[in-house]
């Protein structure tokens, strides 16, 4: 079946199998491999993208049901080659080790900050509760998101 999506502000029309998952369509159909397929059961958050502005685990979305929706992936974050403050925070605070959780963490963090521009540590942790990291122990990720909140606050 055909599905038409807006992906990172570009219209994309693809033929997909009825059982195609959005994570696979994005990675293999559209060629955007930034989103990762960590578990395929919605447990790890590595596949997190924004769908109509809301963070979702794209491994639990049938591509057929994403018809007409606006998707933002990690590739869509940096505007004109300049890192998004969350991305900059991850770089500055050493919050990336193997990098596999990173795109999902970053996408979820942007949603956390959109919802709550000045989050407490508890709010950051709750917001990232659906994202697993096996490497960092989370501390630097939380520091990065906290720093990004400050950066974004200064930009206002």
């Amino acid at each position: 079946m055909e599905v038409a999506l807006l992906v990172n502000e570009e219209e994309v029309t693809l033929r997909v199998a009825p059982d195609a998952l959005l994570i696979d369509t994005l990675r293999e159909g559209v060629g955007l491999t930034g989103s990762k397929k960590g578990c395929a059961t919605g447990d790890c958050g590595a596949c997190t993208v924004l769908m109509d502005g809301l963070p979702v685990t794209s491994c639990l979305v049938l591509s057929a049901t994403a018809q007409g929706k606006e998707i933002v992936t990690i590739e869509g974050l940096a505007a004109d080659g300049r890192l998004h403050p969350v991305q900059q925070g991850f770089v500055d605070f050493g919050a990336v080790q193997c990098g596999y959780c990173t795109p999902g963490m970053v996408m979820m963090a942007t949603a956390v900050l959109a919802d709550e521009p000045h989050p407490t540590e508890a709010q950051i942790r709750a917001g990232l509760a659906g994202n697993l990291c096996r490497c960092t122990g989370y501390s630097k990720i939380i520091a990065a998101v906290d720093a990004a909140a400050l950066m974004m606050g200064e930009q206002e």
């Binding site: 919605g42 809301l54 639990l60 049901t65």
Partner: protein, 291 residues
């Protein structure tokens, strides 16, 4: 092992109902997909016709009616959590929704889906039971209503027939001054199932205290602790002794199993203690409702 033959996305109820009733198709209703997409590959049987109901506007509405709140089956858990009406008048439902999984899942998952998945530990169901919720079930044959206490038949099984779907949950407004709580025992703060779930609602009537107590993850279905409720009915107040006796009766009503998440003995113990603790805590928050 079933695979997906087709995905149909009706925008009207009138289109949906004949599809569900079509004997030539093996239909599954899709809302958030957070359970269905994990389960369907393990089903035996004919290839599936997936019917996505999220495009039917009336199913995604939260409507305050005179006597209660109607929540469409396709309302996302995140939207229930964000609803001011729920926060003001039925906060225990939001307490259940907010401990389901994690934020990404709650942006997809729906109330109807969580109810129809019929896990004995479902965090939305234990609160719905103490709220006295009703299931509104529709097919081409018409609409029927059932108290949620009669909705679950066994783990993962409900009274919804193959040509029917759960259209909405309806919750009567609580009596003025009522209060409730939901407590989830779970090793992790997110992305985990309830090992034990305890919901309690208390209010005052002319005759005295009234209670509803619902328990999750401790029986083949979520259930109400009827004997404990009857003990409380008509009491002048929640004494420590009454709370303790009610806890004992609640624990006697459950039949938990040993599994990877906890032993039966631990679960019974927690039912008793959390029922007692919740009754005491909630009783401190009820009022006569007189303005």
């Amino acid at each position: 092992m079933a695979s997906i033959l087709e995905v149909i996305r009706p925008t009207e109820l009138d289109t949906l109902l004949p599809i569900l009733g079509d004997p030539e198709r093996n239909t599954r209703v899709l809302a958030g997909g957070t359970d269905l997409l994990l389960k369907y590959p393990h089903e035996a049987g004919a290839d599936l016709t997936i019917v996505d109901i999220t495009g039917i506007a009336s199913l995604a509405e939260i409507v305050a009616e005179e006597d209660g709140l109607r929540i469409g089956a396709a309302v996302r858990l995140a939207d229930i959590i964000a609803s001011e009406t729920v926060a003001e008048r039925l906060p225990v439902l939001a307490e259940g929704c907010v401990v389901v999984a994690g934020p990404q899942i709650r942006n997809l998952a729906t109330l109807g889906g969580n109810v129809c998945n019929a896990s004995p530990s479902a965090d939305t169901v234990t609160p719905l039971l103490v709220l006295g919720a009703e299931a509104r079930i529709r097919s081409a044959r018409g609409l029927r209503s059932a108290p949620l206490t009669e909705f679950f038949v066994g783990p993962g099984r409900t009274i919804v027939e193959p040509d029917e779907f759960l259209e909405a949950l309806w919750i009567p407004w609580p009596v003025a001054g009522a209060a409730a709580s939901y407590t989830k025992v779970s090793p992790r703060r997110a992305m985990d199932l309830a090992v034990v779930g305890v919901a309690v609602a208390l209010w005052r009537e002319q005759a005295g205290l009234q209670a509803r107590i619902a328990l999750g993850a401790v029986a083949p279905t979520p259930l109400r602790a009827v004997a404990a409720e009857e003990l409380i009915a008509g009491a002048a107040g929640m004494t420590a002794d009454l709370a303790m006796q009610a806890g004992i009766l609640a624990a006697a009503a459950v039949s938990p199993i040993d599994d990877v998440r906890g032993s039966a003995r631990y679960r019974k113990n927690m039912v008793e203690r959390l029922t007692t603790r919740s009754l005491t805590e909630v009783h401190g928050r009820i009022s006569d409702g007189v303005v």
